[in-house]
């Protein structure tokens, strides 16, 4: 359904162009789920925003192709793209407060999507908005539909955002850190809701998060990004049980465990390079415990490590070949 091929995204800065996403390729079938993880600055959100072409056009340069049902979204005229946004592909963001208009009721905001894409009149849109609120398990939806965003809690607002996103039964939902601003118990509720809706509507979901634990629970396949590049692409279970790229491994080990006492946490030394200031060779080499002299000179490419499993690490690939 979705095919991303050699996507690169560059942004204009004072001194020229910097590449924030570098040759990213992946595919996503219908009714499936994909997680994109990485630290801030890894390019995960930029990749997701590119799918809907939500970057400021003047200052962005995108190359490659993003095919949705065979149509290249990067070359689609703006008008056709606008029909697709919200109808076939919807997106929810981290902060529901900043994504909602404070002076419109939630019913009006959900209704807007319905009026634009499905041509409903105001009254039908209003009653359908209430049904959608009911669908995202907001108690007492009939009266909540006339509430303003400030009258709702953070969790309720995120439910409203989800109601807007699923209003047209999209085939793809992109969720960019949808629960980061929420409390743990509410986060668990929202994730369960998304999982149920995915079944009900039969949509595919791309979940973007820095939280490996969250992604593990939700998706079938995981992409790990570092400094704009894909470093590992594997089924969720494989990545959490046997991560192959040293960066994925480090990310997993750095998560504090709620289930055991630790004297010190494992921390990946150093920090992610700024875009445009990546070191030569492998971008992760300066922080990597396995790095060898060759890693700092030649940039590695993404290669097959196992069935449905790609990594960008020659050291680990060589180790695997040596001991099959």
């Amino acid at each position: 359904m979705l095919e991303v091929e050699d996507l690169s995204v560059g942004f204009r800065v004072d001194s020229g162009w910097i590449r924030t996403v570098d040759d990213v390729s992946f595919t996503l079938g219908a009714k499936s789920s994909l997680g994109i993880v990485g630290e801030s600055g890894s390019g995960k959100s930029v990749t997701a925003l590119s799918i809907l072409r939500l970057h400021a056009q003047r200052n962005t340069r995108m190359t490659g192709a993003i095919r949705f049902d065979g149509k290249d979204l990067l070359r689609l005229p703006e008008r056709q793209l606008r029909q697709l946004r919200g109808r076939d592909i919807a997106m929810i963001f981290q902060d529901p407060m900043h994504s909602l208009n404070p002076v419109l009721t939630v019913g009006e905001q959900i209704g807007e999507t319905l009026r634009i894409h499905r041509g409903l009149d105001a009254r039908t849109a209003h009653s359908e908005a209430a049904e959608l609120l009911d669908m995202v398990r907001i108690p007492d939806a009939r009266s909540r539909v006339d509430d303003y965003p400030h009258q709702l809690s953070g969790g309720m607002r995120q439910r409203v955002m989800i109601a807007m996103a699923i209003a047209c039964r999209p085939r793809l939902l992109i969720a960019d850190e949808p629960t980061t601003a929420l409390d743990v118990t509410v986060q668990a509720q929202i994730l369960d809701l998304l999982r149920e809706l995915r079944e009900e509507i039969g949509m595919s979901v791309i979940l973007i998060s820095h939280d490996m634990g969250l992604v593990a629970e939700f998706v079938e396949r995981v992409l790990v990004m570092y400094a704009g590049k894909l470093v590992e692409d594997a089924p969720a279970r494989t990545i959490f049980e046997h991560p192959a790229h040293p960066y994925s491994e480090g990310l997993l080990r750095a998560i504090p465990s709620p289930d055991e006492d630790m004297h010190r946490l494992y921390a990946i030394p150093g920090r992610i390079p700024d875009p445009g200031r990546e070191p030569p060779g492998c971008s992760f080499a300066p922080r990597c415990g396995l790095a060898q002299p060759a890693c700092t000179t030649a940039a590695p490419s993404l290669k097959v490590f196992g069935p449905g499993h790609l990594i960008r690490c020659p050291v680990r690939l060589a180790a695997k070949e040596a001991s099959p």
Partner: protein, 332 residues
């Protein structure tokens, strides 16, 4: 796994902080607005060299407690005693002035905690400049020493905040907090804004500093896994009240309060598909407090008594307290 050496500090020592029936209301007053009780009769101690973790969801009152503890916010009633000085009530201001240099605060957002136009050396030396009485030479030496303590290179001193990443800025903030050799630091969501790998680095730094300098922390956070990594004891807050307080291992391995259990169950774990269904509902409004237990409408174990009578915090084992009728010895 090895236990932190901090746990072995003898319990016979006197607490450095005593909080008794601390309460904070917002609203009310002459205009007759509704009263919101953000913190309701909270009592705890902090021992020298220990870290007390304070966990709870938004609206649980954890930050309000942290602010009252260092005198940033006056208490409505109850008392806070720091190093033997009572900083609440009459004479509290003068008492606070005597102990203020021993207290520090580290906030969540390192970006808004520094003046963007100050050089790092001036940011770090701010507490020194406020206190006064340091020669220029001593001041510069102290800044260099502090940068070294938090693992930053010396040449950062002449640069500006915008040149640094979130993790580096948080190190700078910690260096500033250490400038006057405090004994007690309140860390309010100090690692919440950081990525996992940065988070682990900062947590390790806080633990190293504690060992080297004998610091005590009040570590406020919503993330239970992070709290486990740093705390000696943990207090769980719900709707402004402590519902459970216990040593680290006891709390995580054998949680007693239904809310503590719900919080632990809600943590996403990097094992595929293992979680139980989450607790229903959200934190209640603090404007109209319920007559019974605040958790009652969400609690899977609630029975009749919970709806009418608020439970009190009782000791159920040495060093371990729970506010729940289930642990009263009188079961339904």
């Amino acid at each position: 796994m090895m236990d932190s050496p901090l746990v072995k500090i003898p319990v016979t020592q006197a607490p450095i902080i005593r909080v008794r029936e601390l309460r904070r209301d917002f609203g009310g007053g002459l205009r007759g607005r509704q009263v919101l009780r953000a913190v309701n009769d909270v009592t705890f101690d902090v021992m020298p060299g220990e870290t007390l973790g304070l966990v709870g969801e938004s609206g649980s009152g954890k930050s309000t407690i942290g602010r009252m503890l260092v005198g940033l916010l006056p208490a409505t009633s109850g008392s806070v005693e720091l190093f033997g000085e009572t900083i609440t009530g009459r004479g509290g201001h003068r008492a606070l002035a005597r102990v203020r240099h021993k207290l520090q605060f580290v906030f969540q957002d390192p970006h808004s905690a520094m003046n963007p136009r100050m050089r790092i050396s001036d940011v770090i030396a701010e507490p020194i400049d406020v206190r006064g009485g340091w020669s220029r030479r001593d001041r510069a030496d102290r800044v260099a020493q502090l940068l070294d303590l938090v693992g930053l290179p010396n040449d950062f001193a002449d640069r500006f905040p915008h040149e640094f990443s979130g993790g580096q800025r948080q190190r700078i903030i910690i260096a500033r907090a250490l400038a006057l050799d405090p004994s007690f630091i309140v860390c309010d969501e100090a690692v919440a804004a950081l990525d996992v790998s940065m988070q682990a680095q900062i947590i390790n730094l806080l633990l190293d500093l504690q060992e080297r300098l004998g610091l005590s922390y009040l570590f406020i956070a919503h993330d239970l896994a992070v709290v486990r990594a740093v705390s000696t004891r943990i207090a769980v807050l719900y709707a402004g009240e402590i519902v459970e307080i216990a040593p680290r291992r006891a709390l995580y391995d054998d949680p007693k309060h239904p809310y503590t259990r719900a919080l632990l169950a809600a943590i996403p774990r990097p094992q595929v598909g293992t979680r139980k269904p989450p607790i229903r509902g959200e934190v209640p409004s603090l404007l109209n407090r319920l007559s019974g237990c605040s958790l009652c409408p969400r609690c899977p174990d609630a029975f009749d008594r919970c709806r009418v009578e608020a439970p009190t915090l009782r000791e159920i084992a040495p060093g371990r307290k729970v506010a729940c009728h289930l642990h009263d010895g009188v079961l339904p």
